[in-house]
Symmetry: C2
Subunit: 216 residues, 2 copies
DNA sequence: GGCTAGAACTAGACGGTACAGTACTACTCT
DNA sequence: AGAGTAGTACTGTACCGTCTAGTTCTAGCC
């Protein structure tokens, strides 16, 4: 699931690999701060304490470096949300289970770095449509698929009453995520709600969801 | 509510005013297509069949022109959503009323131009935080305020059962808007759902909302 | 350990291009 | 007549990607 600019990466731990990591780290910061066009390669070189030559030895162009960074962050974030996903046991409390899932997702996504990544990718949809598609599929798309499967199962078990699992997944996902996400997208990182608020969004979102889709 | 770059606008209908409109129209297209940094003033001048001198006679800088365009579009769109807002009569069907409101909002916002405006503003949050704040307040912020007031009234009338009107407004708003909005934000204008789909989002959103907040 | 060949890296200059905003002269609409 | 505009050259700056010459690291071998 990882993408790399070249077929050969330097062996980990070597000087080359360390430089490469330094470049990636610095470039990530600069791209997130200044956007694609607003970023210049001299600043990246300076910030990573590396010569521009070395930057171009590791990444063939500004565009390649940008793509590498965005896909990397996208992969890592998507994995973080779903890696700890454990199935629901027959005797587990459904509301608590959904709330825990909702809160984990919120607390990972509604984060300054990830919010800025979203802003960056959204701003570049026309220049890099493929990148935005990947972000959608590794983010909301993946979550929606998992939730739809889960809800279909729970419907079959009689624990939920669901006609259209995909619609239900969308409702669940956005009931929980939308309010804090959209606020933070436009109002900036200062508008990111604290932990208590996020827990409340998770709780109330699940409450509404179960009122509409709970087994009768 | 309208913003203007200078305190004096040319009298409408004059050559000056016509040129100004031509510049605004052309610049809108270019900014929406290429973003702030990706836009160049020569292209705007050429597209509006006007010399660069004239562009700078009407707008003091690229930044001023950009701000003018974004605030203008934001104002117009916010007004379009709420101008036709008529209050709910005592005997009107609540579900139908909410569905109509939801559909109107969807059909205005989930539109190539407005989606591209959102992408543009979101991508420039760090460069123009004030612009993003204005977009939030004239868009979601305004809608949330109106909905919260409405829900509070309906709760007092016993037609809804609502503890927290703001939370309810957020749930309503995003139940309806989020799925199509987020798809289109990242997947591009081709992913904008057709009318039938938008109606279904409005219908299902209202259904879930009423299941959770309907009077018992 | 010490030695060497080759790879990786540094520092900065440079070519080429793009572009915001200005200057200047001639034209044209009111 | 005179304000507004066209056309276009120009200034100054920014920046991607390359090049060059000199330096430092690394891996393998004695």
């Amino acid at each position: 699931m990882t993408t790399q600019s070249d077929s050969t990466l330097p062996a980990p731990g070597t000087r080359s690999a360390r430089k490469r990591e330094a470049i990636l780290a610095a470039a990530t910061g600069v791209f997130l701060k200044s956007g694609y066009l607003g970023t210049n390669m001299d600043e990246i070189a300076a910030l990573s304490h590396v010569s521009k030559q070395t930057v171009y030895k590791h990444f063939s162009s500004k565009e390649a470096l940008f793509i590498e960074i965005v896909t990397g962050m996208t992969d890592i974030t998507g994995d973080a949300v779903h890696d700890y996903f454990h199935p629901l046991g027959d005797n587990d409390d459904l509301a608590a289970y959904l709330e825990a899932y909702a809160y984990r997702q919120l607390s990972i996504v509604v984060t300054p770095r990830i919010m800025q990544l979203r802003r960056l990718v959204i701003g570049e949809v026309s220049r890099f449509p493929e990148l935005a598609r990947v972000l959608y599929e590794h983010g909301p798309g993946r979550a929606l698929k998992i939730l739809a499967d889960l809800f279909q199962q729970l419907d079959a078990q009689g624990r939920l009453a669901i006609d259209d699992p995909v619609m239900a997944a969308e409702h669940f996902n956005w009931l929980v995520m939308s309010a804090p996400l959209n606020r933070a997208m436009l109002l900036g990182d200062d508008a990111i709600p604290g932990e208590a608020h996020l827990r409340r969004y998770a709780h109330e979102g699940v409450r509404v969801f179960l009122a509409a889709y709970g087994a009768r």
